[in-house]
Amino acid sequence: MFFFITTLILIIIGLYAIVTKTNLIRIIIGFAILEYAINFFFALVGFKKGALAPIITQVDGPKNFVDPIPQALVLTAIVIGLATTALMLSFAIKLYQKHKTFDITKIKELKG
């Protein structure tokens, strides 16, 4: 239960950073926190207390495994997260070159 509450707090921290921070880089860091929190949560879903790593070494081995699927899924999610973070950072760099500022509230040419 402790871990679940931890992930929930992490999610809220991530959202807080995204919504309230005005610096592009801090927003991206907020995303990283949010993403890791959710990945952490996903990995926890398959966790069983006292279970073994899901590596089958013999046919009639012990049945007490951790669920391996979330781990595989989290790996995929991390890869996707890498792509989004990289793309977002490249946007941030380009935005800085064009606007000479990292403040997202000052970048507001599209409105109405």
């Binding site: 959202l15 995204i18 919504v19 309230t20 005005t22 997202i104 509230t105 970048i107 507001k108 040419e109 599209l110 409105k111 109405g112």
Partner: protein
């Protein structure tokens, strides 16, 4: 069956061919309307009948013929033919001749279809074509604003009708324009559906409050478009829908009748009074079209057999003389290049045939016996008196009668200003020529039609056309004997002519005008037709009657006309003003809400994100 598909598809296909080969589109339009005339007359041989075409297996498309729809189809085809004939050598863009046959085909489809959904399909399709047709402007004029207004108003009335039809389909299960028995209007849903469809019909016919696009279009589209759209197509289709609705689909209650008659009376008042003060012939006729639509609506609203017959008869009369009027004023415009009444005058000498046609059609419109407008209005008055459905009936009668009197007033104004008054200096009468054959023949034919429909009102239109369409017998119509009256009138005219030819005492003497010993310029002494009623909108009633009486323009009724004109103009202006304000208020709400919404999109990301979180909060609140 094949005949029906041919009838509907031929003009559409000809129009589409014309769209590709623009050069021959004029002739294609003429030929296709002639062919539809022929086909629609052939339909008479199939009566009464219903025909089913199966397109894709589950959907039968049902057409039903009865005398009403076939007669109206013939009328539409013939009038379209005349419009095309009239317009064929005028300076109108080719697109006009592409849309006209397509519109004809679609309206024939709407008139003949039995299924409500099919009807709706044609009806909506027509809206698109009407929009396209209104976009074809006069040379050098931009019709887009008017066309948009038309699209918006007609679209609104069409949507109302769509909604009404869906209501009827889903709740009561009425799916046909020609059900075997009419249903009583009892349940609130049926009443709602009825009123929504009524809005569709009133919008089409050009009644209050959907009428404002007609005058707006009047001086930006060619006269042929005005002759075709508001005065032929919309009148026929609107009347058709209202007759079906009131007699075949439902048995309306007296309160509904009251509503319809109020709408009709308001329409008459607006149309007539606004027509009186227009400085432009086309706009006058446009308002006149609205006013005459009011008569049709009132006649239908009486729910009395004579009223319905009168409304139908008035519709026929109206398309005959109103089309003629648009044609003649169009010819004047084409010959002189001017449309403002102030810049015209004295054309009777150089355009005699056009003048004659205008005179006859105009007097018919004003309801001067024995011409055609008189008899139908007479029937409508009788129906109002006989039905006496509500204590308000004298008000409707007064609205209708004074509408008629004032119609004469504005027709005389048009007649005087265009054909009889002294021409302005810069109008060189010698260089103006009578219209070409196809320019003067259609209005002349229509004028003859107006005479025939008036003089032989009982024996030709009522006995041959109106009576067979309606299920109930039309009872005696008081003691109006058109043939006898005509003979008396002719004798009177003959005596007058003899006096004119042989008498010398009555001959007027022309002399120059002097003021203070100086001969004044004839231009200053000239009274252009627009000044007839120009004082009306501005000055107080009493003052106006005084000047008016002094002017002595119409000694025999100028006091009454004066009083009611001013009252009516005030009423008309107030109603126009209220409609205008209504639209403006809606537009203002629209603008303000849009402004607030637009301002809220400030481009600041944290604001946007806070909306997201707020939304998330409410989702949790309601769902979790």
């Amino acid at each position: 069956m094949a005949l029906i598909t041919d009838l509907i598809l031929t003009p559409i296909v000809f129009g589409l061919i014309g769209m590709v080969i623009k050069r021959i589109s004029r002739w294609l339009a003429l030929i296709s309307s002639a062919i539809s005339t022929y086909y629609s007359i052939q339909l008479l041989g199939l009566l009464p009948g219903s025909f089913t075409i199966r397109l894709t297996p589950p959907v039968p498309i049902i057409f039903q013929l009865d005398l009403l729809s076939v007669t109206l189809s013939i009328a539409t085809s013939v009038l379209t033919f005349l419009v095309v004939l009239y317009a064929i050598n005028q300076k109108i863009r080719d697109r006009f001749f592409v849309y006209i046959p397509i519109a004809l085909g679609i309206s024939l489809g709407a008139l003949l279809s039995s299924d409500l959904i099919l009807f709706l399909f044609f009806w909506g399709f027509l809206l698109a074509i009407v929009f396209g047709l209104l976009l074809v402007g006069k040379e050098g004029r931009d019709p887009s604003a008017a066309a948009q207004k038309a699209l918006f108003l007609l679209g609104a009335s069409d949507f109302a009708m769509l909604l009404g039809i869906v209501l009827l389909l889903t709740t009561i299960g009425i799916g046909s324009l020609t059900p075997p028995f009419p249903k009583p209007l009892t349940s609130p849903i049926a009443i709602a559906g009825f009123i929504l469809i009524l809005a569709g019909g009133v919008g089409k016919i050009g009644g209050f409050p959907f009428h404002t696009w007609i005058p707006k279009s009047a001086d930006v589209v060619p006269p042929a478009t005005m002759a075709f759209l508001p005065s032929v197509l919309d009148k026929i289709l609107g009347t058709y829908l209202l007759i079906r609705l009131l007699t075949r689909i439902f048995i309306p209650s007296p309160s509904i009748a009251l509503l319809i008659m109020i709408i009709g009376s308001i329409t008459i008042v607006i149309g007539v009074f606004m027509a009186l003060i227009q400085p432009n012939g086309m706009r006058t006729l446009a308002y006149s079209t609205i006013g005459q639509a009011g008569y049709i609506i009132v006649g239908l609203g009486t729910l009395h057999p004579i009223g319905i017959a009168g409304a139908l008869f008035h519709m026929f009369n109206n398309i005959i003389y109103k089309t003629g009027l648009f044609f003649t004023l169009g010819s004047v415009e084409a010959a002189t290049g001017r449309s403002n009444l102030e810049d015209l005058g004295g054309l009777a000498k150089v355009m005699p045939i056009t003048f004659f046609s205008f005179l006859i059609s105009g007097l018919a419109l004003a309801g001067v016996p024995p011409l055609s407008g008189f008899c139908s209005k007479w029937m409508i008055y009788q129906a109002i008196i006989q039905s006496r459905s509500h204590w308000l009936w004298p008000a409707f009668l007064i609205a209708a009668m004074f509408g008629s009197v004032l119609t004469l007033a504005y027709i005389l104004k048009l007649l005087y200003a265009t054909f009889l008054s002294e021409p302005p200096k810069d109008l060189d009468l010698d260089r103006i020529q009578e219209a070409t054959v196809n320019g003067w023949f259609p209005p002349l034919l229509l004028a003859v039609g107006a005479i025939v429909f008036g003089v032989f009102a009982y024996s030709v239109p009522i006995a041959r056309i109106i009576q067979p369409i309606l299920p109930t017998r039309i009872e005696a119509l008081g003691f109006w004997q058109p043939v006898l009256a005509t003979i008396l009138l002719l004798i009177g005219l003959l005596i007058g002519l003899l006096i004119y030819l042989f008498g010398t005492a009555l001959r007027a003497k022309e002399s120059k005008i002097f003021i203070g010993g100086e001969e004044i310029d004839s231009e200053e002494g000239r009274i252009p037709g627009t000044h007839f009623y120009s004082s009306l909108p501005q000055i107080y009633m009493l003052e106006k009657i005084y000047t008016f009486g002094k002017g002595g323009a119409f000694d025999f009724y100028n006091y009454l006309v004066g009083i009611f004109t001013s009252l009516g103009i005030v009423a008309g202006k107030v109603i126009e003003f209220l409609i205008q304000k209504f639209y403006e208020v809606i537009a203002a709400i629209y603008r303000i809400a849009g402004g607030v919404g637009s301002e809220a999109h400030s481009g600041i990301l944290p604001n946007y994100l806070s909306w997201l979180l707020l939304g998330l909060f409410f989702l949790f609140l309601f769902l979790w």
